[in-house]
Amino acid sequence: MALIELRNVSKVYHLGGEEIRALDDVSLDIEGGEFISIIGPSGSGKSTLMHIVGCLDSPSQGTIKLDGTEIQNASARDLARIRNQKIGFVFQFFNLLPKLSVLQNVELPMIYSGLPAAKRREHAMEALRMVGLENRSKHRPMQISGGQQQRVAIARALVNNPKIVFADEPTGNLDSHTGERILELFHQLSTEGRTIALVTHDPEIAAVTPRRIEIRDGKIAEQVDRKLAGLEAKFSLGKAPAP
């Protein structure tokens, strides 16, 4: 059974009487431990897909199974709990809380899952160690570099041991070198068994993942799985070979 199963999922917005199908009859499976990229130009519906799979939004039609439970009809409260326990988000603009220290930012998801303070600290330090920032725990987000901020955001996304991590244009606000380091980190996490979905408009970034899902006009236009295609799922950055 796949970790995530989307069956005929549609999302329809109504804008001034006009019907906009942001997602149109999408079916998709994501297995545990996969490293995928969701790619498409802006307005293609890739963000909507991420929001729906990430439990930030509910579909208009279709069913979604996450970790064996159907979530398309879950209440806002349940969705919040699922986001807290099973999903991690990494955003383009890092989205750290500027008033909190690095450590407190990483602790934040555990506050909402009700962990005692000592446990929170322990887990947060562990997550920071994973991204190599344990010596920056007392700093404010503004006192560290963009790449480091993104690492903190990744630590925050990982700290509750989620089933899947969504990274929405994680390198979009970084210079190319720092972006590569971040992608390396994702790759490393993937080799440790994490399920990671990169959402991007950039084919070069999408090329680093073994599996690539291209969205266009709300539909899955193309799926490439190098493993299935017999291609080498070789990790390389910047200059990925054409599939």
Partner: protein
């Protein structure tokens, strides 16, 4: 997210915007301190009024007054005897619910003279020795006249301090307390020996002030201008105390024989009493006692209703009414100012959540529920109210001191514990109410929209 955590986050948020939070709190601080200050003023007023009530004998004292004969008894008018000693004896013998009966004959326009000084006595009364208890007098020097003085109709008197101050000099003028016992004064040309003097009656506050003034060294260079007249009332302490201090008591028989003889048409002194005061034995049986006295008096008055009872209850009722209305009006004004403070909090909370839409989006994206966000914002607003309320309690102390400093009255403002509790609880409630709408707005935010918000 537990509540303690929410409080910590709330404190941090307030600390991060110190000046803004202080301004917001100011509304609550002013509201709480004005609420407490108002209640302290009213409490002081109430204390002053109750002091006066006790000074005239408390609620259990009832005065018998002459009253016009009712219309249906008009034909019996010439048989109406008025209030006489018969009533006194009848009440003493036949009304067990009445503890104390004191007859009084009062003479107006009585002038006392001594060594060229003149004092017009406000309250010149011939009475029984038990007037001491009835009117709550305390003898400081000498003694009250007794039954023997009364039976022999001796020319003795007991005076209040104001009489002493005016005829012999006050402690301020002399520099020491003058004991007038044994001196002779003339009242309406008749010599009387002073056998006793009452203590000085005054409100708690003027007593305190006087004692404070005593501690200070006297001002050496006094002006050469003549001393100012202090009027009849002497210093300090309202009408009731002034009246009590300007009293001269003489035995009832002395009053009757010396001053009432000329009033009668056939050389028999006018036997009518000016007033007759009774004291009820038990306040819980007040109405029964009054009824009993009424029944007895209907016999002695030949069934003619030419008397009525004046109770202090009416006065006590009036005090309560005055206090109630003062409390209501003051309370409403203070409550409105607290409410304005609450609106200030709501305003700043709304501004604060608009600033933090993105933060709320992040918190929701990583798992904060509606309730988590709701509680976080609500607690912030409550924390502002709690800090403001606590600061308001402190400020009210200063405010009350300031009030009694800039407008000293006889009634010291008194801060009560109850007022503090009510004001504090009220401010917290205002904080909760003010936080509800902003908290709801914040908690309702859609995480996707909030994350996109720039």
């Amino acid at each position: 997210m537990n509540l303690l955590n929410a409080f910590l986050v709330g404190f941090k948020e307030i600390w991060a915007h110190k000046f803004r939070s202080l301004l917001t709190m100011l509304g609550i601080i002013l509201g709480v301190s004005s609420l407490i200050g108002m209640s302290a003023l009213v409490k002081g007023m109430e204390n002053g009024m109750r002091e006066s009530l006790i000074a005239v004998g408390g609620v259990e004292r009832v005065r018998l007054d002459e009253k016009d004969i009712p219309d249906y008894q008009k034909q019996l008018a010439d048989q109406a005897v008025g209030c006489t000693m018969n009533d006194v004896y009848a009440l003493q013998k036949s009304a067990p619910l009445i503890k104390l009966v004191t007859p009084e004959m009062r003479l107006r326009d009585a002038v006392a003279t001594h060594a060229g000084k003149i004092f017009s006595i406000w309250n010149f009364v011939g009475t029984w020795p038990n007037a001491l208890e009835m009117n709550q007098h305390v003898v400081e020097y000498g003694r009250m006249f007794n039954e023997v003085d009364d039976q022999n109709a001796r020319n003795v008197c007991v005076i209040g301090v104001t009489v002493r101050d005016e005829l012999f000099g006050s402690p301020d003028e002399l520099g020491y307390e003058y004991n007038p016992v044994g001196q002779s004064i003339n009242i309406r040309g008749t010599p009387f020996t002073i056998i006793g003097m009452f203590e000085r009656y005054e409100s708690e506050r003027s007593k305190k002030e006087r004692e404070l003034a005593k501690l200070k060294p006297p001002e050496s260079a006094s002006s050469n201008s003549p001393p100012r007249s202090r009027g009849w009332g002497g210093r300090g302490g309202g009408f009731v105390f002034g009246m009590k201090n300007a009293t001269v008591y003489i035995p009832l028989n002395t009053m009757w024989i010396r001053f009432r003889t000329s009033a009668g048409s056939n050389n028999i002194p006018d036997p009518r009493l000016s007033t007759l005061s009774v004291k009820v034995a038990d306040v819980n049986h007040f109405d029964e006692a009054i009824q009993q006295a009424q029944n007895v008096l209907m016999r002695t008055h030949n069934g003619i209703e030419d008397f009525s009872f004046v109770t202090q209850e009416d006065w006590a009722d009036n005090i309560n009414k005055a206090i109630h209305s003062a409390r209501m009006s003051g309370g409403i004004i203070a409550a409105i100012s607290l409410l304005v403070g609450g609106i200030g909090i709501m305003n700043i909370m709304l501004a604060s959540i608009t600033e933090r839409i993105r933060e709320i989006g992040i918190r929701k994206a990583i798992g904060a529920t509606f309730l988590d966000v709701f509680i976080q914002i609500l607690v912030e607003s409550v924390v502002i109210a709690i800090i403001g309320g606590a600061a308001g309690l402190a400020a009210s102390l200063a405010l009350v001191n300031l009030l009694s400093f800039i407008s000293p009255t006889d009634n010291t403002p008194v801060i009560t514990f109850n007022a503090c509790v009510v004001a504090f609880v009220f401010s917290v409630c205002v904080g909760v109410l003010a936080g509800l709408i902003p908290a709801f707005k914040a908690a309702k935010l859609d995480p996707i929209q909030a994350l996109r918000y720039e």
